[in-house]
């Protein structure tokens, strides 16, 4: 099992990774999720041995491996954009690692065939890799990384440049393949949907630090802070000040708002950031209800199975909500906000 302890890495005196520690269990799939430039690829390169950390330890089964060169680590890495050898065909790309492990020719053939079958590419074994489609390249890269039977598999943005439809299909396949494997997998991506569908556990990496970790469901429902919430695309932000703690009520530009999260966490007068989930509203006529607001619809976008409306409340604050029935632009509506669908965070100084 892999363990990282207090990894530090600087580039041109700027911190790239700061105090990164985590471990990956025996057959666990961990997703490192974060925006580009957050240090994800550097972290992978350190685990792979392609780069040395400035400080900290990389342990494999309790043994320190920071100075072990990459070819002796027996880890597999599937590169972003795949890095297939253009001078070798599909078969030889997959056999490349096997030749280096001094495996007999018959065994190599057997294992390459096996790998080709796994990714359903038996028919194109002799094709040049430069003639392949994006999806085929991805499969070859996956088969190549797995053929030498690595002790750990890393995937760096494996869906990188593929189009939407193909991506959804391949994520499904990849999930099947990965969940059948009994080795640790580290999957790096900037796309939350990918991470949610693949990972047992997600680490969110931002500006070189792990800002949150946990299961996909937990993380999505309980973002650690405002940044994680906005990274997940939750953009209905509202600043407020706590004016009551039982029930929890905050004073905001759109008025008083009641919510259920953070009971007992806050004290009166404390500054908070609120995030209203897009599914939080129900359209109502009755202004006596809790969290009743009125707003003017400024846009109405058809999203296939629902509508997204943009609403301006009190002429200043603008929000987006998901609703099931369309409302015409320019119309005023009244609605209530579900207190359970509001996230709240202590304001950071």
């Amino acid at each position: 099992m892999l363990e990282l302890k207090h990894i530090e890495k600087n580039y041109n005196r700027l911190p790239l990774l700061e105090d990164v520690s985590f471990s990956v269990g025996k057959d666990e799939t961990v997703c490192i999720l974060g925006p580009s430039g957050g240090g994800k690829s550097t972290l992978l390169r350190i685990i792979a041995g392609l780069e040395e950390p400035d400080a900290g330890q990389v342990l494999w089964d309790g043994r320190e491996i920071s100075t072990v060169p990459p070819h002796l680590r027996e880890f597999g890495l599937m590169f972003q954009d795949y890095a297939l050898f253009p001078h070798l065909n599909v078969f030889d790309n997959i056999a490349f690692g096997l030749h280096l492990h001094h495996i007999e020719e018959d065994e190599i053939n057997r294992r390459v065939d096996e790998a080709l079958e796994m990714v359903s590419l038996q028919q194109i074994a002799n094709r040049s890799v430069t003639d392949l489609s994006g999806g085929e390249k991805q499969r070859v890269a996956f088969a190549r990384a797995l053929a030498p039977k690595p002790n750990l598999l890393m995937l760096d943005e494996p869906m990188g440049s593929l189009d939407r439809a193909l991506r959804d299909q391949l994520i499904k396949e990849l999930h099947m393949l990965i969940s059948e494997m009994d080795i640790p997998v580290i999957y790096v991506t900037h796309d939350q949907e990918e991470a949610f569908s693949i990972a047992d556990r997600i680490l969110i990496l931002n500006e070189g630090r792990i800002v949150q970790s946990g299961s996909p469901q937990y993380i999505y429902m309980n973002p650690e802070d405002l940044w994680v919430a906005s990274f997940f695309g939750l953009n209905n932000k509202l600043e407020g000040k706590i004016c009551s703690i039982n029930p929890v009520i905050a004073e905001t530009v759109i008025g008083k708002i009641t919510f259920s999260c953070g009971k007992g966490k806050f004290s009166v007068g404390e500054a908070v950031d609120l995030v209203i989930l897009p599914t939080a509203i129900s359209v109502k006529e009755n202004d006596d209800d809790l969290n009743y607001f009125e707003g003017r619809i400024i846009d109405n976008i058809f999203k296939g199975n629902s509508f997204t409306i943009r609403v301006v409340i009190l002429g200043s604050a603008e929000f987006s909500f998901q609703i099931m029935t369309p409302y015409p632009k320019g119309k005023n509506v009244g609605f209530t906000i579900n207190p359970d669908s509001i996230l709240c965070f202590k304001r950071k100084k």
Binding site: A48, G49, L50, P69, P70, H71, L72, E74, F75, G76, L77, F79, Q80, D81, A83, F85, P86, H87, F96, G97, L100, H101, T130, R144, A145, P148
Partner: protein, 566 residues
């Protein structure tokens, strides 16, 4: 260009290049054939083919070319690694220095090495002064090492340019992927890096071999009488023995091999499969880390600087040096820096073989260069514009225009001599053929610079321009010209510099009253006396400065283009 979509307009532009090629390439080549295989009426007693000499000369040509190529690769490939994988202080300057030889005329290089290791060069002057001897102790000139050093100086830049660029653009992820799959560092090199660089290495090797094989000026001026290659022998047979038959057969041998090599090189460079990925500049580069990497970078940098800088620096310094030796021993009695050598260029002293002062040679050269640049540019634009990527007939025109690339300058010179010398008064208007042959030599370079740019202009730019109100007839002014301006300037400078430094073909066509700068340098280098030597140095320095200046402008143009793309 949009306006040339029309086939009739396009074929109109074909006429001039075809006429030019017919008159100034095919006619001279046919004339060599004619002289060689018909028993001409003017058969002098010497006019026969000596197969022993031919065999010896061809053998030596291959021998020196193979040896030169091997040594060039030995220096060039580590240098390519240096440029392709490391970043270090002064790298950019070193890169510019190492590409400079590419544009330097052979006479300048010969003069530079002469200034360094020749009998009146720096090293010998210093040694004579220190050792108190009157004869120059280093006799490197007129020897095989001199030829080899000059060839390495010339062609290392080609290897660095072709292989170094490929190395820099080789996606490092591929090497990392191999390491992740269990490859040791040496496995990575032999199984990934080397196979991927091989096409570039082959392409560079063929190109270097071609240049070494057809090398003329370097061998003539640095090898001396003992070493004659095919090129030099053609010159000697023509100019000294008037044996056009012998020269002709040698030309045909030369032509066969150089054509083969040229088309081999065009083919190889066509199917390079180094994965070229869009990269942030310097992404694949690293600072030398370990002790051995630092040592490697340091030692190679020093070697390259000595190899690349010393001849040109020696030339520039030697051109402003005046000294007198004390009579019996080599001790230098007095010496100083002055512009006397340059002042001497304006005078026609009595002992000179020339009827004109050397400065006239500069004027001639500049005029010839301007004329040949204009000709080459006009023809190059016509060919580039009227040929499109797809049509077979167009490809043929492009192929025709590339032929001079595979024809050695000396062969061209011989061709002109045998084609045009039979006309009355030919001697008088001979010098005016010089711009034509220079334009012919520069044409392939011009086409290779501007054609890709013209072809890469996307059609929708014209459509966009038209929807924005540009009349069809003015598209060239608003779309084409701004886009090709820089490559036109680059091509113009190349053509100008090629003409300015051309020596091989010119040496067949020159007349005493119309010398070009390279011819004058060559003559003055061979004249006795320190004064003549100094003048040769001054002229070579002028040529160096002009070509170096042109090269500097090209570099600036390139950097600007790069910046715009990002």
């Amino acid at each position: 260009m949009r306006i040339f979509e029309n086939h009739r307009q396009r074929s109109f532009f074909w006429i001039f290049p075809i006429l030019f090629m017919a008159g100034f390439y095919f006619l001279p080549m046919a004339s060599i054939l004619g002289h060689t295989f018909t028993s001409g009426s003017d058969s002098l007693s010497t006019n026969q083919i000596n197969w022993t000499i031919a065999g010896r000369v061809v053998g030596f040509t291959f021998y020196q070319a193979i040896l030169s190529t091997l040594i060039t690769l030995l220096v060039g490939i580590p240098s390519s690694y240096l440029f392709g994988r490391f970043s270090f202080r002064g790298k950019n300057l070193l890169r510019i220095l190492s590409t400079l030889p590419f544009i330097l005329p052979t006479v300048v290089v010969a003069a530079g090495f002469n200034a360094l290791i020749g009998p009146k060069g720096w090293l010998n002057l210093l040694l004579m002064d220190i050792l108190h001897i009157s004869n120059s102790p280093i006799r490197l000139l007129n020897s095989m090492p001199a030829i080899l050093i000059a060839h390495v100086f010339y062609n290392t830049s080609i290897v660095i340019r072709v292989v170094g660029t490929a190395w820099e653009q080789l996606d490092q992820k591929l090497e990392n992927a191999a390491r992740m799959l269990g490859a040791t560092p040496s496995n990575v090199f032999w199984k990934v890096t080397f196979p991927l660089l091989l096409p570039s290495i082959l392409s560079a090797t063929i190109l270097v071999f071609l240049f070494d094989f057809t090398s003329f000026g370097v061998i003539l001026m640095m090898g001396g009488a003992a070493f004659t290659t095919i090129e030099v022998e053609i010159y000697i047979q023509t100019m000294q023995f008037l044996n056009l038959k012998m020269a002709g057969i040698l030309s045909l041998i030369q032509l066969t091999f150089s054509m083969l090599l040229t088309f081999l090189s065009l083919r190889v460079s066509g199917d390079r499969n180094v994965p070229i990925i869009p990269m942030i500049e310097g992404e694949g580069l690293r600072k030398p880390n370990s002790f051995f990497e630092k040592l490697f970078v340091y030692i190679l940098t020093v070697i390259l600087v000595i190899l690349l800088v010393s001849p040109t620096a020696a030339l520039l310094l030697r051109s402003i040096l005046t000294f007198s030796l004390s009579n019996s021993i080599g001790k230098i009695a007095s010496w100083g820096l002055s512009l006397e050598n340059y002042r001497g260029l304006f005078f026609n002293d009595r002992h000179s073989l020339f009827f004109v002062p050397p400065i006239t040679a500069l004027r001639n050269s500049v005029l010839f260069a301007a004329a040949s640049m204009t000709t080459a540019l006009i023809l190059g634009i016509m060919i580039s514009v009227s040929s499109s990527k797809n049509e077979r007939s167009n490809k043929f025109l492009g192929f025709l225009a590339m032929l001079p690339l595979g024809t050695s300058a000396v062969t061209l010179g011989l061709g002109y001599l045998s084609a045009f010398s039979s006309t009355p008064n030919s001697i008088r208007w001979f010098p005016f053929l010089i711009p034509m042959v220079h334009a012919l030599i520069a044409l392939p370079f011009v086409i290779r610079i501007i054609q890709p740019v013209i072809h890469s202009i996307p059609k929708n730019l014209y459509e966009a321009a038209m929807t924005l109100g540009v009349p069809e007839r003015q598209l060239w002014k608003h779309v084409d010209l701004p886009l090709i301006r820089k490559s036109l300037a680059t091509a113009a400078i190349y053509a100008f510099a090629i003409s300015l430094g051309e020596f091989g073909a010119t040496s067949f066509l020159t007349r005493p009253e119309y010398p070009t700068l390279p011819i004058a340098i060559f003559r003055y280098l061979n004249l006795p006396g320190g004064e003549n030597y100094g003048k040769a140095m001054a002229m070579a320095a002028i040529l160096l400065l002009i070509c170096g200046g042109g090269f500097f402008i090209i570099e600036r143009l390139q950097i600007k283009v790069k910046g715009e793309n990002q």
